[in-house]
Amino acid sequence: MQVDIEFRDLEEAAEKIWDIALKVGLDPYPTHFEIVPASIMYEFGAYGLPGRFAHWTHGKAYHRLRTMYDYGLSKIYELVINSNPCYAFLLEGNSPLQNKLVIAHVLAHCDFFKNNAYFAPTSRQMVETASNNADRIRRYEFLHGKLEVEEFLDAVLSIQEHVDPDVFIKRNKAEENKVRPERQTPYDDLFGLEKGLTEKPDNKQEKFPLSPEKDLLLFIAENAAHLQDWQRDIIYIVRNEMLYFVPQMQTKIMNEGWASFWHARILRELDLTEAEYVEFASLHSSVLSPSKTEVNPYYIGMKIFEDIEKRWNEPSDEERRAFGRKGGEGRQKILDVREVDNDVSFLRTYLTKHLVEDLDLYIYKLEGEEWKIVEKDWEKIRDMLVASMTNFGSPVIMVEDADWNRNRELYLKHSYEGMELDIEYAEKTLRYVHKLWGRAVHLETIVDSSNVVLTFDGEKNTIKRNS
């Protein structure tokens, strides 16, 4: 039985890779690998988690991934779930070498899930939770009709990125009746810390929310008047699953870089045949191939980790003098970085001038009908990259006032930081927000340097200059 022999060989290789991973200092959750056919692999890829709730957007993603696979345009070799134990999926038909590389890569991901600080609050039973959520939504479909539930999900999913992973840090019931003194300078929130809060003056007309809220989903679930229980539950489900995915979105470059860094190291420790080594080199380079229009997280992440390791192993004389680096600390340093950073801090701290030039990064934009390179200055490139990672690439929308016009209308404000919104999309999204909020909704933003307010009142979209 050829298949059985292959399976046993793979089991043996997996154990060997596990031992090497522990030896080099990785600390993954126990990991279970399941070999699955392409249809299952692409389904999990499309849904993000096995057994997640049904929705046509998942079906669309599945169809796209399937088609690309069928035409040989792209292939998912592996998929790993942040849980304890970790679940990982190998594509049936991977060659033995591909599987070895994938197993090494996955173990580094599992180490990252377990040790990176941003993953600490995530549920490690999300597969079970997601499948319970799917059951509940199925029951709502049964009770309230498939179309009704689908249309409600459409609305919720259109604003699913608008959650605040730090919402519980800020919330403190005891402080809810107190206010901070009015800001005088941009640094008041720092200086004000020791001053504490003042009792809120009773006679003042209250604004609600007291200070702007970033978690649009939570705000609507808690405060929209007309929602039924099942609808609130769906908002909480979507928000809960989104919060689970947020750390993965915040650490894409680090996580993929970390896994690529280690799969290369671990495979060098295995006794590969010459043919396997050639296959490894070609697979490794295809994973790391750069793209003209975006940064390949695998490549840039791995390069940064390699650079950090080198600079802490063999610091320059200046680095020894200025920072007191002793040398030989590379391994410990990268383990520390994977523990405390996310993409924003990782890039800001470790994407150096030397790396930006070595990687030949640039900023490009649409000029007329052509995409043109407009900037090669390394600091601007670094800052642009950091800016594009902020809030995991989504615009920040704050709830300013839930009683606008004294009419319980919802007033949102885009925190403009130089990038304009797609107005057509914003208007369509406002229609969905209206469906959730139940009354007129407004969004303040900047278009062509002027302040405008988009409104959807339940019948039509309007846009007007803010005076």
């Binding site: 070999i35 030949d360 390179i373 107005i423």
Partner: protein, 381 residues
């Protein structure tokens, strides 16, 4: 509890979640096509297809809107091969929208090529259309070549024995004699045989009399409109009748019956005398298509540029004569510019007070669908 690493392989063949949601997405794509039929059906790729083929229709990708940045004003970071410089153009030659990246998760105008067969498209198109003034005609009963096993006899050859019925008959007979209803002691009278009858079908017939102005004033656009209109009309009638024939008539000052190829050729030359076509149509009906057994659908496409009021009057008379025997008479006036006023011919036709006479004006490709709907709206005969 799992301590380190493990590996397994199960049978996943019953897992169906992805395909189910994919089907829902496909359904929504179809709804989107339906909402955009007017633009889709007059596409060249469709009306020049052979009718069975799958056609690809571009529709805007179905996407949930969200708050996102305006990609046309956005700056992004990319990576070169070591020698990039300010001013370099990425993807030269590939202009305009999109960047050829994964469709869907990048902004840009994302088009989705939905695959659909002409049959499905026709199904959507004709879903709520009907044949106006449909009349039951004396259809010829045609004895088909086939036979059908659709009858039961008490005698027959053993190879055609219907075992189930035979057993039922036996049990029934046993029960009638007061015995317990069981199956036993089969007699000759219990036997039942399947037998056949010749396959008789009733033919329903329709004839389309397609008339087209080929005078010098009719150009490429008029030809295109005529063609896409007839393409869908014939498809529609075939879905209702077993047998649809088309008679092609072209005219300038004289009318003649032509084959399909000639019919769709570009305009010839000369003036226009519409009445000549209507006369020929009446002659053809009289000689070949007895209204007793044929549903008749004459349609005429012209730019309405007719030869004087005298002929217009004659046309009105002839049209009145035609609608006596025809299911409907459709007149399509093709005017590329929306602003021109109705022609003298159209003005003359407007005096006809008969709901079987249906005039339309077509100024744009997208008008083909509404005019089809106007011609074939359900109404009482």
């Amino acid at each position: 509890m799992l301590q380190s690493i493990s590996l397994s392989k199960h049978d996943w063949s019953l897992h169906r979640k992805g395909p189910a949601d994919q089907a829902r997405h496909a359904e929504k794509v179809k709804e989107a096509i339906k909402g955009n039929l007017a633009n889709i059906i007059s596409q060249e790729a469709i009306i020049t297809s052979d009718g069975n083929r799958i056609v690809k229709v571009p529709i805007k990708s179905l996407e949930l809107p969200r708050f996102r940045y305006e990609f046309r004003k956005k700056q992004q970071v990319g990576q070169g091969e070591g020698d990039s410089g300010v001013g370099d153009v990425l993807n030269p030659g590939q202009k305009g929208q999109g960047k050829g990246k994964q469709a869907g998760d990048q902004p840009g105008i994302d088009y989705y090529e939905a695959e659909i067969t002409i049959e499905e498209l026709a199904g959507l198109l004709f879903e709520d259309l009907g044949l106006p003034n449909l009349q039951r005609k004396l259809g010829a009963e045609v004895e088909g070549a086939g036979i059908r096993y659709n009858d039961i006899h008490k005698v027959g050859i053993m190879s055609n024995l219907d075992k189930k019925r035979t057993i039922m008959e036996n049990i029934r007979r046993n029960a009638l004699t007061g015995h317990v209803p069981v199956f036993q002691k089969v007699r000759q009278e219990d036997l039942r045989f399947r037998t056949w009858n010749p396959d008789v079908q009733r033919e329903t017939n329709a004839v389309v009399i397609a008339m087209r102005d080929v005078s010098a004033s009719m150009g490429e656009f008029e030809k295109y409109i005529t063609r896409s209109f007839y393409f869908w009309m014939v498809r529609f009638l075939r879905s209702k009748y077993n047998n649809v024939r088309i008679v092609f008539i072209t005219h300038h000052t004289e009318a003649k019956e032509v084959d399909e190829e000639t019919f769709f050729k570009l305009g010839e030359s000369g003036g226009t005398k519409v009445s000549s076509a209507y006369k020929l149509a009446l002659d053809i009906i009289k000689m070949r298509y007895d209204p007793e057994s044929w549903n008749i659908y004459p349609f005429h496409f012209s730019d309405g540029d007719n030869w004087g009021d005298g002929d217009n009057k004659l046309c009105v008379e002839l049209v009145n004569k035609l609608i006596e025997t025809c299911n409907i008479f459709g007149y399509g006036e093709i005017q590329e510019s929306r602003h021109s006023s109705p022609s003298t011919l159209m003005s003359a036709f407007l005096s006809i007070q008969n709901e079987r006479f249906i005039p339309v004006t077509i100024a744009d490709k997208a008008d083909v669908y509404p005019s089809l709907r106007k011609f074939f709206a359900r109404r009482e005969g």
